[in-house]
């Protein structure tokens, strides 16, 4: 159970949050992309043994969507910020 330091609420336990998937690049204009580029954006987020960026929603707290930098091995959380 992670402890996530919400910028608004302070340190809260993971169960107050909903996981929102890997932090994708900003949603591109679909019309400006080839099929391959679209598929790449949509389905190929990195999944390393190490640092990842991911979204979490403080569903049971302030309601803010957060972006976390988390280490997938140690669970260390290096950064929590609002939005993307």
């Amino acid at each position: 159970m992670l402890l996530i330091d919400c910028p608004f609420c302070g340190k809260r336990t993971e169960s107050e949050f909903a996981y929102g998937g890997p932090a994708l690049a900003p949603r591109p204009d679909p019309a400006a992309l080839t099929d391959a580029e679209w598929v790449d954006w949509l389905t190929v987020p990195p999944n390393p043994l190490g640092w990842v960026e991911e979204r979490w929603w403080h569903a049971r707290g302030c309601g803010a969507w957060l972006t976390l930098r988390r280490h997938t091995v140690t669970h260390e959380i290096a950064e929590v910020r609002h939005g993307r």
Partner: protein
């Protein structure tokens, strides 16, 4: 045989005798006893049967390390797999050995010993793999006797959260010292200890702190801590798991003052101190599990703490100094110590000095034990000569293993300490430190200093004063197994793993220590290798010509000791497990005798309202017919509702839905789909424009939270600069939905200031006004295919509205409608349902809803992916209707469709099947590969009893033009 209790000393209260029962026999012990000490005091030597071979076993340890004697408690205190040395004796306690039937003394399973050499490590894997392990598992489990689940559900458990500046695991000298330092500094301290009493190792042997009896110091420390409001001190409470970000799980057994059977603590600590002590380990030699063989430290604890003499004539077998104190204590208690067998070639003078008058045999080994129902003699060997020494007690010390379980669970690293011949804590991976014997301290003074220093370091405090205590010398030369140890030399007594098993594993190529563990089960399960793990590591290293640090350890896993399920589940058990939801009408529905279901998002909703003498099907038919022919009303409160405001709300909704919403006029609504970005249907619903800047989004019940989450994510992550706010108003509006051709008449009769004519209030419109004198917002949507008015009011007004429409509709024969009838009605109309047709794999075209995809260049979520998928011509599962060829044949929802009903890959499945009131027969919907092209043909549902032929049709059975719902 009560002659094994010493006349004086010990921490038992001889004025408080307690009666108890073990394996069907009655005994007496004293307050302060454990079940184990009381059994030993009563001369009970065989207290258990082993897990696999059903070998007779006795008490081996004195605390959580006890590997052999596991008991089930019976009666009011029923619980399984308790460690006898940790069960406090209470009046009337009743227990039985877990692995034995009918009793540990006479156990039928003991025949396994006769075939022991036929069931070595890996036996189960090799033997019971064909055709399927699960075929054999129940019988094996029964034979292995893993304990039984207590019979009755008990709700007197609790789990709670706690927060601390410093959590200290262990109230021995190091933990108590740390708690004093931290507590005096005002820190929030949680001190958790697994023992019945604080003091740890000090309870078992004589020592002095600050010039007085160490136990006086303990009592003083406990009293001082109790007076500190910032300190919470729990005994009989084990920190059994160390999770990420300093979350620790603690199991408090029987917090009697609060009338609870157990309590689980989830502690989030800023800093953690592991002061969990050390456990003496076993040595591998044949018969090292015979009743009468004990850990030296356990002998000492039973002598000093419980005033129990576990034998009359003893031999000590050691590879280190600590057993010499034990020998001295034994002699002082009147036990004849025949010899101290020390594997080391030379014994330090400080050790010898403690046992003057006792024969010390340096460079000797114990190779075997003898005795049919308990220890009678041991074989001793040196220099090629071997002889027997008669004895009924063998005290074994293989050295001390720091209890690094918690430390390692935190993912912190270990290093090998040559002087200790053990792994000790190295680098912390979280905010954790270790102190005392757990950190490798061997002296009492050292433990106290480490405890104090750890608290100071954790909290940034100046160095405190620490009371003086002696640091007794400790030296060890590793001895893991004796030469010749084999199939009766146990390295994991609980799991019946022997030296021969280790050697078999190595021969078969399982050289990595994690493989050895899995192949032999050594170090697994509830024992977690407390007395034997390091012996296994050492033995494997020896046989591979490596050193223990080259072998490393296996992963330490929670729980450290057995945990009651109740202490994990807490209050979330029994009748109120999951957070069910009620509408303001729940009480009314129940009073009407409705059969309540838990539907989407855990709402408890009426499934149907049976009347006297009706069958289920008759009720559902009646309710459905009421809507088709007259008028019904249902409780629509759970429907998800979001209010969107702001200058950009319109274009935000255009992005979210498959059809544009920004062009809606105030008071007008539109049905559309929401897709996921990968182009699959996520939800469907109606969006209304309330006025220029406000929109109302309605979602399906089960998806209400998910839609809110998705909308907020899109807004907060992708469209930060757009002026939109989203508010969940699901709970601010309840509704009674009138449906059926007579709905308008009923609404009119209930009294409203809204013009209900078709021109003034068309389908897909929304109007504010009053209904039955209540402030209302009425929407013309339909989930049934009939004329419908969804009358929304504030939930506090819903019961009044409900009553008003029932009275207003009495003349038209209005009836409440449950979700079963609603399901029939929506299937007849071919409307989608979440979890049925919308199963997370369908896109709009699959469900024949290409019309709901806005044409034109504008983008919306999921559009690109739908188009991409559509650009390939691969066949898809498509929504079709079907009628069983036999009209009376019901088909289960979820049943697969296969070619001709043969045993082949499925080509689709039944999403819904109902008894239609408009066709008076069974019919349904299905998702079928290339289904639209097959309409008119026959398909087959494959069922265990045979194939069912169905005729495929358009997925709408009622009013395909939609005249009725628009009327």
């Amino acid at each position: 045989m009560a002659g094994d209790r010493l006349p004086s000393r010990g921490r038992i209260d001889r004025s408080r005798p307690l009666r108890f029962r073990f394996d069907g026999r009655d005994y007496t012990g004293f307050h302060g006893d454990t079940l184990a000490s009381a059994l030993l005091a009563n001369g009970v030597r065989i207290t258990a049967r082993s897990f696999k071979y059903h070998r007779a076993r006795g008490i081996i340890g004195a605390g959580v390390e006890e590997p052999a004697t596991l008991v089930e408690l019976e009666g009011d205190a029923a619980s399984g797999n308790r460690i006898a040395t940790t069960v406090p004796l209470v009046e009337g306690l009743s227990a039985r050995a877990v692995h034995a039937w009918p009793s540990a003394r006479f156990d039928l399973g003991a025949v396994n010993q006769l075939i022991a050499r036929l069931i070595p490590a890996g036996f189960y894997y090799k033997t019971f793999k064909w055709p399927d392990w699960h075929l054999f598992e129940p019988a094996i489990r029964r034979a292995a006797g893993l304990g039984a689940v207590p019979p009755a559900f008990d709700d007197s458990y609790e789990t709670r959260h706690a927060h601390a500046d410093l959590l200290i695991a262990g109230a021995g000298p190091a933990g108590l010292m740390a708690a004093l330092v931290a507590g005096r500094a005002g820190a929030r301290v949680l001190l958790m200890d697994e023992g019945i009493e604080a003091g740890g190792s000090l309870l078992a042997h004589k020592a002095a702190i600050g010039g007085r009896d160490a136990l006086d110091w303990v009592a003083g420390a406990v009293a001082e801590l109790a007076a500190m409001p910032n300190v919470t001190h729990l005994q009989d409470a084990t920190a059994w798991a160390y999770r990420e970000h300093n979350l620790l799980m603690v199991h408090e057994r029987a917090p009697r003052a609060d009338g609870l059977r157990g309590r689980g603590w989830r502690v989030r600590a800023r800093q953690v101190l592991v002061a969990t002590g050390a456990i003496e380990r076993i040595i591998g030699f044949d018969g090292n599990d015979r009743p009468g063989v004990m850990l030296a430290s356990a002998v000492q604890a039973h002598l000093n703490r419980w005033a129990v003499r576990p034998g009359r004539r003893a031999v000590v077998f050691t590879n280190n100094d600590s057993a010499y104190t034990v020998a001295a204590d034994m002699a002082a208690a009147g036990i004849a110590v025949a010899a101290i067998v020390d594997s080391r070639a030379s014994v330090p003078g400080t050790a010898r000095a403690q046992v003057r008058g006792i024969e010390v045999l340096p460079g000797h080994l114990v190779t075997q034990t003898h005795g049919a129902r308990g220890l009678r003699a041991v074989s001793v060997t040196a220099g090629g000569r071997s002889w027997r020494i008669p004895c009924d007690l063998l005290a074994v010390s293989g050295g001390w293993t720091p209890s690094v379980h918690l430390w390692s669970q935190s993912r912190s690293s270990l290093r090998w300490d040559d002087a200790l011949s053990a792994f000790v804590p190295d680098r912390p991976a979280q905010a954790v430190t270790a102190a005392g014997a757990a950190a490798g301290a061997t002296g009492l003074g050292q433990a106290l200093r480490q405890g104090a220093e750890a608290a100071c370091a954790a909290l940034g405090l100046p160095a405190p004063e620490v009371p003086q205590a002696e640091d007794a010398p400790y030296a060890i030369e590793p001895l893991w197994t004796v030469p010749g140890a084999g199939a009766k030399a146990f390295v994991d007594i609980q799991n019946d793993v022997t030296v021969a098993d280790l050697e078999l594993a190595l021969r078969e190529g399982y050289g990595a220590i994690e493989h050895v563990k899995r192949y032999t089960t050594g170090g697994m399960a509830m024992d977690q290798g407390k007395t034997g793990n390091l012996t296994i590591v050492g033995a494997v290293a020896e046989r591979l010509g490596l050193t223990p640090p080259e072998i490393g350890t296996t992963t330490y896993r929670p729980p450290y000791t057995p945990v009651d399920f109740g202490a994990v589940a807490g209050q979330q058990a029994g009748p109120v497990v999951l957070p069910y939801r009620h509408t303001p009408l729940t009480a009314w529905h129940k009073a009407q005798g409705a059969v309540m279901y838990e539907a989407g998002a855990r709402w408890r909703r009426p499934g149907y309202y049976p009347r006297e003498g009706e069958s289920f099907q008759q009720t559902v038919d009646r309710e459905a017919r009421t809507v088709r022919q007259g008028v019904g009303v249902y409780d629509g409160a759970p429907l998800g509702k979001y209010l969107l405001r702001g200058a950009d709300a319109g274009r935000f909704l255009d992005l979210v839905y498959t059809r544009p919403m920004s062009g809606l006029r105030p008071g007008q609504g539109r049905y559309a789909l929401m897709l996921t970005e990968d182009g699959l249907i996520f939800d469907d619903g109606v969006c209304f424009r309330l006025d220029e800047g406000r929109f109302l989004v309605s979602t399906s019940t089960g998806n209400a939270d998910a839609v809110g989450q998705a909308l907020e994510k899109l807004l907060q992550v992708e469209r930060l600069d757009w002026d939109v706010t989203i508010t969940n108003i699901t709970g601010q509006w309840g509704n009674a939905t009138l449906c059926g051709p007579l709905a308008r008449d009923v609404l009119r009769a209930a009294g409203t200031d809204i013009d209900l004519s078709g021109q003034a209030f068309p389908f897909m419109a929304i109007r504010d006004g009053s209904v039955a004198g209540l402030r209302a917002r009425v929407a013309r949507v339909s989930f049934t295919g009939e004329l419908s008015f969804e009358i929304n009011v504030r939930p506090r007004d819903l019961p009044a509205l409900w009553q008003a429409v029932l009275e207003a509709g009495a003349a038209q024969g209005i009836a409440p409608i449950g979700s079963e009838a609603n399901h029939v009605l929506r299937v007849e109309k071919g409307f989608l349902s979440l979890g049925h047709e919308v199963d997370g794999t369908a896109d709009p075209y699959d469900l024949g809803m290409g019309w709901a995809m806005a044409k034109g260049p504008a983008d919306f979520i999921g559009k690109r992916s739908v188009l991409l998928r559509r650009s390939s011509d691969r066949p898809r599962r498509e929504l079709v209707g079907f009628r069983p060829v036999d009209p009376e044949r019901q088909v289960p929802e979820g049943a697969p469709l296969t070619p001709q009903g043969r045993k082949e890959a499925t080509e689709g499945f039944v999403t819904a099947c109902v008894r239609s009131v408009v066709e008076d027969r069974w019919l349904g919907l299905a998702l079928l590969m290339d289904g639209r092209a097959r309409i008119g043909q026959t398909a087959h549902v494959r069922l265990p009893e045979g194939a069912v032929a169905v005729t495929l049709c358009e997925p709408v059975f009622h009013d395909p033009s939609g005249e009725r719902l628009r009327s």
